[in-house]
């Protein structure tokens, strides 16, 4: 089919061309991709998405390589291209003679940068192995600093009469300022965001906002001072992520993930379409010599650059880059909309030949995106390049990798060699000792990474089991045991375990079924205020209980497996009630005195697993225990804190409610609409 051959980016550009052509045909002036809009609104989401979900482990392991490609490679490209184009211009006859060296160098610097948007768009579809992906992608992100510096430098120099050595040296220094400054700004904002997230336990709803807000501010602040905005954005995303993820609720986490994906998708689409439209709309000046030589030299520069640099880098790498890798890296050097926008920003006064530049840039972009983008997939298959392994990280890998980390750190210490592992270990220790305490709320700051990973894994598995209806997929007894075993220490509250007979169960089911409909109409509106403050609620150990509930929940889910899913039991509803954010831990001190009602999800099939914690001793004994524990299986009614760990509107009944009323409130949150491809609500740590 078409989508297998043609990458999405190409199709979008074609659409843009068509739309632009249409508009022009009608006689209107098609809109051009304004640089403001591009840099302020379209680019940041994509970069933030990339930065927030950057696979940190691979990135840091290959940082040296990536930096060399990004900095040295881009510089080489820029100067090589600029120089050669100058030569071409000199020789190119009257049309080109007037273009000076600086203008050419500027042109070179604009077009030399590998574009993250284009790389993402193409590489995402070919599922290449992680090493190559992170190399090309990392390069495209980090070369922004170089591009910014060169661009501003040459732009300014073009207005000077004379360029002195001092200017050049200053320019060289400004590179460090721009890149390190950008990173610094990003780190600051990242830390602020992490710190803020520590206190958001009462306002879970706006947690995602902080992530977006601070990141965007990092970007703007950096751009304001002509520092590298992209690097600021990446730095802030990378820095804030571990701490924010430890602090925020599970739902916020999902929200952030999907919002970022959504925004970046939309941006990407718009960018490519606009590229197409702008092509039609723009003023062009086609000069065969210029354009063809640009294209040629771009390719040559890239190939040469990669070859030479790889030869150099391989001396220092443990795992060398093979020629196949080098080919993919060279071939993956796609140019994109950033180059276009930068060119568009040029001032006509100083750069009269802007149109010609624009035409050349568009040609190069089209060539790289269409030709290289389309052919890279068959080439990857042809060359049998390693593809990405789709499997998730197993607990074994996690444990053994950590084990090996410690081992290698130890060996390095014995050798007296301060290598990669040594510094990583030091950073981890520092992080654990000081930083985590500041930035992560409550007890989670002490949670070892392994445990966190394990929890996430168990949770994910539990959810998957439920969603799949569980039939035939009963986890081995070991897992069940494991879930049961988690946190046996907190068994503070007595549990009344009524025995449920089958008739009672049927009765319960019937009641639920009948009342479900009415319930929805009597729904209280999904009011954000009810999410925040809950006047009835004051318990602070809801966290602990929630954790415990989560454990029991998982246990119940295992038991629940034997119950065929009912229609009412849509995955979304079950998801909506799962663990009301078991990750939103905030273990406050155990204030045992505060009685809490919590109904644990119970499986009808195993009455002995029904747990009921009762606030009023009189309340529950005789009642058919909370009818709601049934159908939804995973219904978890939390009678407490607004602790918006539960964004569900579970209003606590003023106790003594008869079953129906409880059920009413319990079901008041219909939960999110089912998302067709909601597969992984979690992002495993260490990813």
């Amino acid at each position: 089919s078409v989508s297998n051959i043609v990458p999405e980016s190409c199709l979008l550009i074609v659409v843009g061309l068509l739309v632009g052509g249409l508009i022009k045909g009608v006689g209107e002036k098609p809109p051009i991709l304004k640089s403001d809009i591009f840099f302020l609104f379209l680019l940041p989401p994509i970069i933030l998405d990339a930065g927030y979900f950057l696979p940190l482990r691979q990135f840091t392991e290959n940082l040296g390589t990536i930096l060399i490609f990004a900095v040295v490679g881009t510089l080489w490209n820029a100067f090589f291209l600029g120089g050669l184009m100058y030569a071409v211009c000199q020789l190119g006859g009257p049309g080109l003679n007037h273009i000076g060296l600086l203008a050419n160098l500027l042109f070179g610097s604009i077009i030399s940068a590998v574009d993250p948007v284009a790389v993402l768009a193409v590489f995402e579809e070919i599922h290449i192995n992680e090493l190559l992906h992170i190399l090309v992608f990392g390069e495209s992100l980090l070369n922004d600093a170089v591009t910014v510096v060169l661009y501003h430098l040459f732009e300014e120099f073009a207005t000077f009469e004379q360029v002195t050595i001092i200017d050049i040296i200053l320019g060289f220094l400004s590179f460090f300022v721009v890149s390190l400054g950008g990173v610094f700004v990003g780190v600051i904002y990242g830390l602020i965001a992490a710190f803020t997230s520590r206190f958001t336990s009462h306002i879970r709803v706006i947690e995602p906002l902080f992530v977006f807000l601070y990141s965007y501010m990092a970007y703007l602040s950096a751009e304001l001072f002509h520092l590298s905005g992209i690097m600021a954005l990446i730095a802030s995303g990378v820095v804030m992520r571990p701490y924010v993820e430890a602090n925020i609720s599970h739902k916020s986490h999902t929200t952030i993930k999907y919002f970022l994906k959504m925004w970046s998708s939309v941006s990407e689409t718009l960018i490519f379409i606009f590229l197409g439209v702008s092509t039609v709309a723009g003023h062009h000046y086609w000069n065969w010599t210029f354009v063809i030589s640009t294209l040629l030299f771009c390719l040559i520069a890239r190939v040469l650059g990669v070859l030479v640099l790889t030869w150099f880098i391989n001396k220092f790498r443990i795992v060398k880059l093979t020629p196949k890798d080098q080919f993919i890296i060279a071939y993956g050097g796609l140019r994109g909309a950033i180059a276009f926008s930068l060119c568009y920003l040029l001032d006509y006064k100083h750069f009269g030949m802007r149109d010609m530049f624009l035409t050349a840039i568009i040609t190069v972009i089209f060539f790289t995106v269409f030709v290289q983008g389309m052919t890279i997939r068959p080439l990857v298959d042809l060359l049998a390049v390693k593809k990405k392994q789709e499997t998730k990280r197993s607990i074994n890998e996690e444990i053994h990798t950590q084990f090996l980390d410690h081992l290698l750190t130890g060996i390095e210490d014995i050798c007296g060699h301060y290598g990669h592992h040594h510094w990583k270990d030091k950073l981890n220790r520092f992080n654990k000792k000081y930083v985590k305490k500041c930035l992560i709320a409550g007890e989670r700051s002490k949670e070892p990474q392994l445990i966190a990973f394990y929890h996430k894994m168990e949770m994910k598995q539990a959810i998957e089991l439920v969603e799949s209806g569980g039939i035939g997929k009963i986890p081995s007894a070991v897992s069940t045991v494991s879930i049961q075993n988690i946190n046996p220490k907190t068994l503070p509250v007595e549990r009344i375990l009524p025995a449920l007979s089958k008739d009672k169960e049927e009765e319960i089911r019937k009641i639920l079924r009948n009342n479900l409909q009415k319930t929805r109409q009597r729904l209280r509106s999904y009011n954000r205020h009810t999410l925040v403050a809950d006047p009835y609620e004051e318990a602070w150990n809801q966290m602990l209980l929630r954790r415990q509930k989560a454990r029991q929940l998982e246990q119940k889910m295992n038991n629940y497996l034997t119950v065929p899913a009912h229609k009412l039991d849509s995955p979304t509803m079950s998801r909506a009630r799962i663990g009301s954010d078991p990750l939103a831990y905030e273990p406050k001190a155990d204030s045992e005195n505060l009685p809490i009602i919590t109904i644990d999800p119970a499986s009808p099939q195993s009455p002995e697993s029904v747990d009921l914690m009762n606030e009023e001793p009189k309340g529950c004994a005789g009642l058919p225990p909370s009818p709601e524990e049934d159908e939804e299986g995973l219904v978890m009614r939390v009678k407490e804190p607004s602790s918006p760990g539960t964004d569900d509107v579970f209003t606590p009944g003023t106790g003594d409610s008869p079953g129906n009323q409880r059920m009413l409130r319990c079901l008041s949150d219909p939960g999110p609409r089912p998302e067709p491809e909601e597969g992984e609500p979690f992002i495993p740590k260490g990813q």
Partner: protein, 174 residues
């Protein structure tokens, strides 16, 4: 094999650790390294240097153990199929790590051995039961022959996706 300059460097390191100046290192000499003291696996690593039952290790033994961590050279791959496998082959690297888990040397990582390692890595805040469940889960994931322990083959299989050649190599031994 290792180059001359590296041997020199390692020898000077060896002598700097050897406070007793008798050409061999004892366990105390290793324990004097500060970072090793806070390393969860410190003791086991130290033990790995000492051959069975001995308390002193000479430079040769020192080098031999460290040789496991040499990066695998491209030109070595496939060269010497007939000779003994070099110490820094992937299999031998993994075997080294495996031996650190398997204290009783029965070629299996039992649940207890795994628990011990987990306990060392995770610290004191986690309950035994919780660690137990993690250990169970780990063994369940890896175990293929149903003996509730991880054999070397199973160990290798679980780590097949991990880039051991890179991970277990120290660049300076290159």
């Amino acid at each position: 094999s290792v180059s001359h300059s590296q041997i020199t460097r390692l020898y000077s390191r060896f002598t700097s650790l050897d406070k007793g100046e008798n050409g061999t290192l004892s366990r105390e000499d290793f324990q004097r390294i500060p970072e090793l003291a806070i390393n969860p696996l410190g003791d086991r690593i130290i033990n790995a240097f000492f051959p069975e039952g001995e308390d002193q290790v000479n430079f040769r033994g020192f080098m031999r153990t460290l040789a496991h961590f040499r990066p695998i050279e491209d030109n070595e791959k496939g060269k010497d199929q007939n000779g003994p496998e070099p110490l820094n082959s992937r299999s031998n690297k993994l075997h080294f790590a495996f031996r650190l888990y398997d204290l009783d040397k029965d070629d299996k990582i039992s649940r207890d051995e795994l628990l011990q390692v987990l306990r060392m890595m995770v610290g004191v805040n986690i309950s035994d039961e919780q660690l137990g469940s993690i250990a169970d889960r780990t063994i369940q994931e890896a175990d293929q022959d149903g003996d509730s322990a991880i054999s070397f083959a199973e160990f290798v299989k679980v780590l097949e996706k991990v880039d051991v050649e890179q991970k277990m190599s120290i660049r300076f031994l290159h």
